[in-house]
Structure formats: structure tokens, C-alpha cells
């Protein structure tokens, strides 16, 4: 997929692209989300993660002016989130919902033509052509949407979200239903949009997708459980770990590992590898290497163990499960 033809977004770039300040939404007694605060810069890809029912979709609907917050404030594409700004905010944003919501009796081009009209775009034909080429659907413009596969409908929905060159793009599960090749093309498209300064608010259950694409992620489970760069969250949640593999087991590992600077503790796993919890890998790794060589160990590898975003997610959600919040 290509983003070469996507023009630069609107000019007003003072302040964050998206911000929420103690934003909450309740439906009667039920809390959809509560006390959500964040700031997202222009050109940032922001992952919004959380289990089903966590309030992600309601947050997106609130930020896109579909529903009103119960309390708190927000700015969207540089405009305060108040009913009076609804039309102008919606002019500057685009949403790709999880369900494509296409008119199945209309062709791909007719669907996009309708939305080009709703966005009041003067150069509709060029925009439609550009959006279709961006999602590799130029050859399917005249196909009825009802006859497209789920994956192709998802692409039409993405093309629709590209029509108005939005400043802020909300993508809800953009690769749901797509095959790996098409999903990779969507990832490339998102990368291209980021480079052009488009802010992307990405809601996804695919954690590897979030890890690959997002500058920062937020984990929501009614309230914000964590927010930050995946690396920062890893550091906050998990101690640094060095993994040592040797050809033969060490005769007295405690003698080697105990007392090394920055090494807090060690244990051996079932495969025979040594797992060392360290406070600072930069300090621990060189001294550990010297200690192993001095002990005559046949070292196969010394590596920093890497926790995935999934580990972070599960760590935080498990906390909620234990606390009985889900």
C-alpha cells in the first residue's frame, strides 16, 4: 500500500493533537470509563489497549463527538471537545470502526462518493482515486460492497477513513479479518501516515501489532492502568533480567553470581539456564561476563531477557482479575 498521494493534513498544529483531562463517561450507574487523562502529539501512533468492555470504544466515540462525556474535558485536533465544535472536529478527524458499516448495495466508489459528499470535499473524484490506490483497491471501484470479502470490506472502510486527510485518525481493529499480507500493507500505510504527521489512535487486541506500530500505548480497564512507551512500561513493571546459558552446569553458581554488583538474585530454570535479576544491565553484564570467564565457565550466551507487550498487558490485567474488577 502507498501513502505517497496522501496530502499533508490541516495546518493548525498548536498544542497536542488529542488530549483528555480526567475524562469520564457513565451510563446511569455503569461506568464506561473514568478519570482518563493523556496527551497525544501530532504524528504519534498511540495504541489504546484493553480487554473487552474496558471502555475503549466508548472513549473513541466520546473523542469523536458521538457521545458526550459525563465529566472532564478534552481537545481533539486542537479544538475543545464541546457540542458547538462538533461539526468542525468531525471535519478534522476520521474513524475506521471495527465493523466496516458499508452500504452493501452500493459499489465501492459509490460508498466513498457518499462520504466524500458528507465531508464536503471539493475534489471528490481525485480523493476517492487516491484513497483506493492507498489500500490497493483501485481495480475494485465498481464492485458492489456486498460481494466483497470481509477483508476487502475492511480495506474499503480504511479508504473511507483516508478520504478527508484527517489530522487525527481513529482506527478500531484495522487489521481484523485481514490476511497477513494485507495486514502488513495496513501497517505500512499506518507508518506512512505517521511520517506525514497524521495522529493515529489505534485500538487493537493484536498486541504484537501495537508493539510494532505504536510510539506509546495506554492500557485501559475502565480506568487507565498504564500509559507510556512499551520500553518504559517494561522497565516499570518488570525487573531487568539477564539470561546465561553455559555448555555444562556451573559447579557452584552461587559462588559466581552472589556479590556481583547490580545482581539482585538468581535462579536456574528447567532448561538449565541461569536467570539473573539485575538492577542495571549496563553495570551487571560486563562484571557477570568477567566472573563467568574467571570461573572457567563455557559460556554459550549472555542475553537480556525481553518482556513483550503481551507480558505487560497480562501483568496488568491479571492484577485486575485478582482485584476482581473484570
Amino acid at each position: 500500500m502507498s501513502t505517497q498521494k496522501v496530502v499533508a493534513p490541516n495546518g493548525n498544529r498548536s498544542g497536542p493533537a488529542l488530549s483528555a483531562d480526567h475524562l469520564s463517561k457513565r451510563f446511569g450507574d455503569r461506568v464506561a470509563f473514568e478519570d482518563v487523562s493523556f496527551e497525544i502529539d501530532y504524528g504519534e501512533v498511540f495504541g489504546f489497549l484493553g480487554p473487552n468492555g474496558a471502555g475503549k470504544t466508548t472513549t473513541v466515540r466520546t473523542l469523536s463527538t458521538l457521545i458526550s462525556p459525563t465529566s472532564g474535558s478534552a481537545t481533539v485536533a486542537g479544538m475543545s471537545l464541546v457540542p458547538a465544535n462538533g461539526v468542525e472536529i468531525r471535519q478534522r478527524i476520521a474513524i475506521m470502526p471495527e465493523s466496516p458499516g458499508l452500504y452493501l448495495r452500493l459499489s465501492v466508489a459509490e460508498n466513498l462518493e457518499c462520504f466524500a459528499g458528507l465531508y464536503r470535499l471539493p475534489d471528490a473524484c481525485q480523493r476517492i482515486d487516491r484513497a483506493l490506490r492507498a489500500v490497493n483497491l483501485a481495480g475494485r471501484a465498481n464492485d458492489l460492497c456486498g460481494k466483497l470479502s470481509k477483508g476487502l470490506r475492511q480495506r474499503v472502510s480504511l479508504a473511507r477513513a483516508l478520504l478527508n486527510d484527517a489530522d487525527v485518525l481513529f482506527l478500531d481493529e484495522p487489521t481484523s479479518g485481514l490476511d497477513p499480507v494485507a495486514a502488513r500493507e495496513v501497517h505500512e500505510l499506518i507508518d506512512g501516515l505517521r511520517q506525514r504527521g497524521v495522529t493515529i489512535f489505534l485500538t487493537t487486541h493484536r498486541l504484537e501489532e501495537a508493539e510494532r506500530l505504536c510510539d506509546r500505548v495506554a492500557l485501559l480497564n475502565t480506568t487507565l492502568r498504564a500509559i507510556g512507551r512499551p520500553d518504559d512500561l517494561r522497565r516499570q513493571l518488570f525487573p531487568a533480567v539477564l539470561l546465561v546459558r553455559t555448555l555444562v552446569p556451573l559447579p557452584d553458581p552461587d559462588l559466581v553470581f552472589s556479590g556481583l554488583p547490580a545482581v539482585d538474585s538468581w535462579r536456574q530454570d528447567a532448561s538449565g539456564a541461569y536467570i539473573l535479576t539485575v538492577s542495571d544491565t549496563i553495570v551487571a553484564a560486563p562484571t557477570l561476563t568477567r566472573a563467568l570467564v574467571a570461573a572457567g565457565a563455557d559460556v554459550l550466551s549472555i542475553a537480556e531477557s525481553h518482556h513483550s507487550l503481551e507480558d505487560i498487558y497480562l501483568e496488568l490485567i491479571d492484577e485486575d482479575v485478582e482485584a476482581g474488577t473484570i
Partner: protein
């Protein structure tokens, strides 16, 4: 508030395209209208010449004003609840379109086929009467004031029916329920039309003008009232 005709036109064109692609919509409207007229038409055709004297005292064809009261309900009742059920409402509401523009586009799109069906069926009835009824009966039934009344009141009644149906559609969670309730909205018009047809009411010119003016105002108020009742949040979340 200014109305963007670009947005209205986008919705209008989309709706008409959907009607065109789904032939059963227009066919269904036409069949309903024909069912409404077929028995009275047979009776008119079968009337003896002597019946013309009675027919001259009223406007027997006024009952046909019931067609524009009923037919639009079948498309307009779908306007909001149908989009909601097929998941297309949310993407539309995330665009800059105002609710007034969305509803006006929907209403105009419902008006066009409804008018076409109502006028076509009326023309069909007139043609049948002219061809098959006794000439004196035909001349008693087909009068210039009667035809003008039909031509003039059909869009006004369609408008009323459309706004009632869209109002029902915005509050309903089921398409079939919305259609049934919407048809009920046309009953006051059918009642008045039948009272005129059966000579229970003898409308004067001034009465006709007043009724037309009232309906025109009601159509305008209907647009604003339905727009006010159109609650994005309730439609999207199904809560409130």
C-alpha cells in the same frame, strides 16, 4: 444554522441508489397503493350511469389521498432504524453532517418515490375510470378541482407521513415495528380523506387553503421537531 446542500445531496443520492438497487422497495410501495385502490376502482367501473348524480355532490376520489399518507411510511420508517441495524449509521454520524441535513436528505429521498408512486397510481385510476366507467360516471368523478386537490395535497401529505415515519424510526429499535407504527401516523389523513369522499365533510375553497397552509407549516415543524428528537448518543449506544 446553515444547511449544507452538499451533505443533503450526498444522503439523497445514496438513498435513491439503494432504492434503485433494491427493486422490492418500489414494487412493495406500488403494490400497497394498488391494493388501496383496486376495490373502489372496480366499484366505480361497475357503477350505472344513474349514480353520476350522487357522485357530483362530492369528491369520491378524495379517498386516494390516503395513498400519500401510507406509502412513504414504508421507506421513511427504515431511514434511521434501518441504518442503525445494518451498522451504517455510526460511520455517517462521525462525518461533519448535521442531523438536520441527514434527516432532510432522507426525507427528500423518501419523497421522490412516494410522489412517483402516488401520482402514477392516481393516473392509473383516472385512466381506468375514463376508459372503462360509464362516461357520465367518469365525468362526475374526474373533475378539475378534484385533480388539482390531489396534485397539490399529495406532496403535503407525503411530507407529513415522512416526518411521522422518521420520528418513529429515530425512536424505534426494530424496522418492522417502525413500519407498523408509521402507517398508523397516516390514519388521521385517511380518516379526513374518507369523510370527504363519503360526503360527510364538504370542503370549501377557503377550508382547503387553510388545511394546505396548516400542512405546509406542519411539514416544516416536522423537520425541526424530528431533528431535535434525533439523539446521536442514544442511537449509537442504545442507552438513555
Amino acid at each position: 444554522m446553515s444547511v449544507s446542500m452538499t451533505c443533503v445531496r450526498a444522503i439523497y443520492r445514496k438513498e435513491l441508489r439503494e432504492y434503485r438497487r433494491n427493486g422490492s422497495i418500489i414494487a412493495g410501495m406500488t403494490v400497497i397503493a394498488l391494493i388501496f385502490v383496486i376495490i373502489p376502482l372496480i366499484e366505480f367501473v361497475a357503477l350505472p350511469a344513474s349514480a353520476s348524480r350522487t357522485l357530483r355532490t362530492g369528491d369520491a376520489l378524495a379517498y386516494m389521498l390516503g395513498i400519500p399518507a401510507i406509502v412513504p411510511a414504508f421507506v421513511a420508517a427504515y431511514a434511521v432504524v434501518g441504518e442503525r441495524q445494518q451498522g451504517t449509521l455510526e460511520p455517517v454520524l462521525t462525518t461533519p453532517i448535521r442531523r438536520e441535513e441527514l434527516l432532510l436528505g432522507k426525507a427528500l429521498a423518501a419523497l421522490v418515490p412516494s410522489l412517483a408512486v402516488a401520482y402514477a397510481v392516481y393516473a392509473f385510476v383516472l385512466a381506468c375510470i375514463d376508459l372503462f366507467a360509464q362516461p357520465v360516471v367518469a365525468s362526475a368523478l374526474i373533475t378539475v378541482p378534484g385533480v388539482l386537490t390531489q396534485l397539490f395535497f399529495t406532496p403535503l401529505i407525503c411530507g407529513w407521513s415522512i416526518w411521522v415515519s422518521i420520528a418513529v424510526s429515530t425512536r424505534s429499535s426494530d424496522t418492522r415495528g417502525a413500519q407498523q407504527l408509521s402507517v398508523l401516523g397516516g390514519f388521521p389523513v385517511i380518516l379526513v380523506a374518507n369523510l370527504i369522499a363519503f360526503n360527510a365533510i364538504h370542503p370549501t375553497l377557503s377550508m382547503v387553503i387553510i388545511i394546505a397552509a396548516v400542512m405546509l407549516v406542519l411539514d416544516g415543524i416536522g423537520w425541526r421537531a424530528v431533528s431535535t428528537a434525533f439523539d446521536r448518543e442514544r442511537l449509537i449506544t442504545h442507552i438513555r
